[in-house]
């Protein structure tokens, strides 16, 4: 037996060489069939044909026969049509909401990780709480507060305001604040982790060398937390770009339509527009490709570091 362990058929832990891939194979096959193939199907449909009689999309699996007609229509709409406006609005909403997340989230994460003192665990629990409350429940709560006879208007009329806008129809600010409300916990928590990792000794050293509080922050804490900010931004921007439920719940008006709303409409609400929906999904992926790549590299690096 022990002599076998040295042979080429076995690896260092004495398992046969095919054992480890054997463990991985069911998962890999699953992901090939239910992630890779579906992913490819987006392209096969977007660049496939439309059945002239049934008017439904026919996938074209062979790239040689891909037909760019639908994709060209979508591209034309993107540069100069309605879709261009929707895309610009999506970018505007995502950037505005992300900026607000940084402005509000940084002080919160900073306080809880470095200054919260004795009650730190309680603060931490409070900033983690929204994580485990369903996103739709949190949005539904705001729909309720902002409805015509809701608490927001009750408070406003208490202060003597008598006419209210319809908060839940086409208000850009409501949608942007809704996005902030929905995604900010996912920004704060990774940033908290990054700030938490900064060694107190580094900050003390900075102060011993004569830096003021503000200088210490700008020249030590902020640079050390920059990766946390970037990571948090990627985590919230990816789903925000594809969001459709937030504008639908908090507005539902064409004035606040985002890219995700168009995709949702083409896929979920009509039957024959699958290829337009697929083409739009490719457009969306072009928007977020950079974010996805950055995120992929970060997770991979974290795994490599854990391995060492």
């Amino acid at each position: 037996m022990p002599t076998n362990l040295q042979s080429a058929e076995y690896d260092t832990v004495g398992q046969k060489r095919w054992v480890w891939p054997g463990f991985a194979i069911p998962g890999v096959v699953w992901l090939c069939l239910l992630f890779l193939v579906p992913f490819y199907a987006i392209f096969a449909i977007a660049l496939g044909r439309i059945d002239p009689i049934l008017l439904r999309p026919v996938p074209e699996w062979n790239p040689v026969y891909w037909d760019p007609t639908v994709f060209a229509e979508v591209a034309a709409d993107l540069f100069g049509g309605q879709l261009g406006l929707v895309a610009l609005r999506t970018i505007g909403y995502v950037f505005a909401a992300s900026a607000l997340c940084v402005l509000i989230g940084y002080p919160v994460a900073y306080f809880v990780s470095r200054k919260a003192g004795r009650w730190r665990w309680l603060w931490l629990l409070l900033i983690l709480a929204p994580f485990w409350i369903n996103y739709l429940m949190r949005m539904m709560s705001w729909v309720n507060l902002l409805s015509p006879d809701g608490q927001v208007n009750q408070i406003l009329s208490f202060f003597g305001v008598s006419s209210f806008p319809d908060w839940l129809s086409g208000q850009h600010l409501v949608v942007i604040l809704g996005l902030v409300y929905g995604y900010i916990p996912f920004f704060i928590v990774p940033l908290f982790a990054a700030l938490d990792r900064i060694d107190d000794a580094t900050l003390e050293a900075s102060r011993d060398l004569g830096a003021s509080n503000l200088q210490t922050f700008w020249r030590v804490t902020w640079p050390l937390s920059r990766n946390g900010v970037l990571g948090g931004l990627v985590i919230i921007m990816l789903p925000m770009f594809g969001d459709y439920y937030t504008p639908n719940l908090l507005s539902g008006s064409p004035r606040t339509r985002m890219l995700g709303n168009s995709i949702d409409q083409f896929i979920n609400q009509t039957t024959s527009q699958g290829s337009r929906g697929a083409a739009l999904t490719i457009v969306l992926m072009m928007f977020v490709a950079g974010l996805m790549a950055y995120y992929l590299v970060t997770i991979n690096r974290a795994a490599e570091e854990a391995r060492r």
Partner: protein
């Protein structure tokens, strides 16, 4: 000189306001699930009618067919997903952590991809593939189940892999030096050491699945495959009775229960078997 570690009042204020802003709307929604009247904005006294109320008097989570069916569908999907995704992910994690062959790198890459893909993209992809290629899979529970497993497997891999790296190979090698066969070493040394990660995986997959909205909605089959988040989405703008708040509250309690099980189980078992508990923090990062 000023005390350098003095109380930062401005920061306390910002954080306190943030916490109030983030939690009060939900607290109000929970409060009104216990309202004695039909209003969701005027308090009329305490009642549990929207949870267990008589079907004649009011719609309640327990008796209203659409609410009850959403609860059943969510629980059914979460349990099914948990039973398949957790073992699949654990095996994948062990395989990927030890496999050094040619296919290892691409497989690892494939595993990471679902974590960085926006959910709407995965929803569209799965919808199109079930509609055009795997048309033997009916929309509804089956499609939703396959979708949920697909997006949760990678989370399991991340949890288990963190733990595998922390354990290292020394224990298994020691067991085999003492005469255990490779299989015995795995069954009697590695798997017990992995128990905390297994417990956490099951609970996290349950929470991920029951909380999911996008995939469930894209792969919906009919009225009886509506899950709780989908029901909240479709009902929120239609001036619903407080029973919708009650349904949301039930979902929240179940999710928090799963997370507490994950956390406590992980903590208790790591204490018993030793090791670090950084993997749960890792998962927090990816959870959206």
């Amino acid at each position: 000189m000023r005390n350098q570690w003095g109380k930062p009042r401005g920061l306390v204020l910002v954080t306190a306001l943030y916490v109030l802003w983030s939690l009060i709307p939900v607290a109000i929604a929970i409060q009104f699930s216990f309202n004695a009247g039909r209003s969701r904005s005027t308090w009329q006294g305490f009642s549990t009618q929207w949870y267990v109320g008589d079907p004649e008097a009011a719609s309640s989570v327990f008796y209203d067919p659409s609410l009850r069916s959403a609860l059943n569908q969510s629980l059914k999907l979460a349990v099914l997903t948990m039973l398949v995704a957790a073992p699949l992910g654990v095996a994948l994690a062990i395989g990927l952590a030890r496999w050094r062959g040619r296919g290892a790198k691409p497989s690892n890459f494939l595993m990471l991809f679902p974590l960085v893909t926006p959910e709407i993209v995965m929803g569209v992809a799965l919808f199109l593939v079930f509609d055009n290629l795997y048309d033997f899979v009916p929309f509804g529970t089956w499609a939703q189940f396959l979708g949920h497993v697909t997006f949760s497997v990678s989370f399991v891999v991340i949890i288990v892999r963190g733990r595998l790296f922390a354990i290292g190979r020394d224990y298994e090698e020691a067991a085999m030096d003492l005469g255990a066969s490779p299989w015995e070493a795995m069954r009697r040394v590695l798997l017990p050491l992995l128990t905390p990660a297994l417990v956490a995986s099951f609970a996290i997959v349950f929470a991920l699945s029951i909380d999911d909205f996008v995939i469930s909605q894209f792969l919906i089959g009919g009225a009886n495959s509506v899950t709780i988040p989908v029901r909240l989405y479709s009902g929120a703008r239609l001036a619903p009775p407080p029973s919708l708040n009650a349904l949301a509250t039930v979902l929240m309690v179940v999710t928090i229960g799963a997370v507490v099980v994950a956390g406590l189980g992980y903590k208790a078992l790591t204490r018993r078997f030793g090791g670090d508990d950084s993997a749960l923090e890792t998962v927090g990062r990816f959870e959206i």
